[in-house]
Amino acid sequence: MTELKTYKWPILTIVIITVVLMVMLTVGFAIGILSEDPDGLERALIDAKGETWLESLPSPWMPILGGIESDYMAGIIGILLSVVLMIAIFYLIAYIKKRND
C-alpha cells in the first residue's frame, strides 16, 4: 500500500501523458497540426538519393516491433517500455552504488 502511495503521482502522470498522446494523435492529424512527412535527416537523404534508396539501406536485423502499424499501439508500448527500462536502469545504478558502499 505504501509502495502504491509512493508511485501514485508518477503512475497517474504516465497515464495522463499516454491519454494526451492518443488525443494528440487523433486530433493532431485530423486538423493538420501533426505531420507524417519525413523528418530533417530523412528529407536530406531523400532529396539526395530518393525514397527507394533510403528504404533499401541494409540493416543487420529486423526491428522486432517494426510490424506494429497502429500509431496508438506503438505509442502505448513505447511509453511503457521507456518507463520500465528507465526506472530499471536507474534503480540498478542506485542498487549497485549501495551494494558497493
Partner: protein, 223 residues
C-alpha cells in the same frame, strides 16, 4: 535526426560507439554518486515520467515548411532537468526503445546517442549554463532565465547535432559532405524552433508545477 543502419562507414560507427560507451560508463559513476544523497531514489519514478514524456513528444511530428517534419529530441531538456550525465543515459535508453520500432538503426545507436545525447544533452546543458551566466546579469526571475536559456541552448544544440549528423553521414561517402551538411543545417534551422519552443514550455511548466524536479539549478548557476 535518427541515423538508420547502413549509412555510416564502419570506422565512424565504431568510433562513435566507443565515445558513447565511455560517456555511459562515466555517466553511470556520476549518477551513482548522486544517489548517495538521502531520499534521492524518490526521484527515480519521476525519471520514468520524464521518459514517458520524452517518448510521447518524440512520437509526434510537427510540420515544417517544404514537406518536412520535426519532432522533439529533448536532449537539452533532459540535461536541464536531470543534469548532463543523466541526459546521456536517458537518451541512450530512449534510442534503444525506438530502434525496436525501426526508428534509427541498431548499429547507429552509438552515433545517434553521440548526436542527441552527448551533443544535445551533455554539451547542450553547458550551452544553457553559459547563457544563464549572461542572464544572471539581468534582474529577471530565475524560472524565466532557465526557460529562455533552455530555448536558446536547445536551438544551438540541435543545429550542432544536425551539423555532426551531416558530417558523420558525409564521412561515409554515400552522400557528399558538401551536400548533406548544408541540407541538414537548412532543415534544422526550422525544426530547431519547434525544439526550442517545446523544451522551454516544458521547463516553464515544471517550474510552475514541481520546481524541485529541476535538479540542476545549482549546477546551472542560476541566481
Amino acid at each position: 535526426m535518427h541515423i538508420p543502419d547502413g549509412l555510416l562507414d564502419p570506422i565512424t560507427t565504431v568510433v562513435l560507439w566507443v565515445v558513447t560507451i565511455v560517456f555511459m560508463i562515466i555517466a553511470f559513476k556520476k549518477i551513482g554518486k548522486s544517489f548517495e544523497e538521502e531520499d534521492s531514489e524518490k526521484l527515480i519514478p519521476y525519471i520514468g515520467v520524464l521518459a514517458a514524456t520524452l517518448f510521447a513528444f518524440q512520437f509526434v511530428n510537427f510540420p515544417v515548411p517544404g514537406g518536412t517534419s520535426g519532432h522533439l529530441v529533448g536532449g537539452t531538456l533532459v540535461g536541464v532537468i536531470l543534469g548532463p550525465w543523466a541526459a546521456v543515459i536517458v537518451i541512450f535508453m530512449i534510442l534503444v526503445v525506438q530502434s525496436l520500432f525501426g526508428d534509427g538503426g541498431i548499429t547507429a545507436i552509438g552515433a545517434n546517442t553521440f548526436n542527441m545525447g552527448i551533443i544535445c544533452g551533455f554539451f547542450g546543458f553547458y550551452i544553457v549554463k553559459a547563457i544563464i551566466l549572461i542572464l544572471n546579469k539581468t534582474n529577471m526571475e530565475k524560472e524565466k532565465k532557465v526557460t529562455i536559456a533552455t530555448a536558446i541552448g536547445s536551438y544551438i544544440a540541435i543545429l550542432l547535432a544536425a551539423f555532426m549528423a551531416g558530417v558523420e553521414v558525409g564521412i561515409g561517402g554515400t552522400i557528399p559532405m558538401e551536400i548533406i551538411v548544408p541540407t541538414m543545417i537548412f532543415w534544422h534551422i526550422f525544426i530547431g524552433i519547434g525544439e526550442a519552443v517545446i523544451s522551454a514550455l516544458i521547463v516553464y511548466f515544471i517550474y510552475k508545477v514541481k520546481p524541485e524536479f529541476i535538479t540542476t539549478e545549482e549546477t546551472l548557476g542560476v541566481e
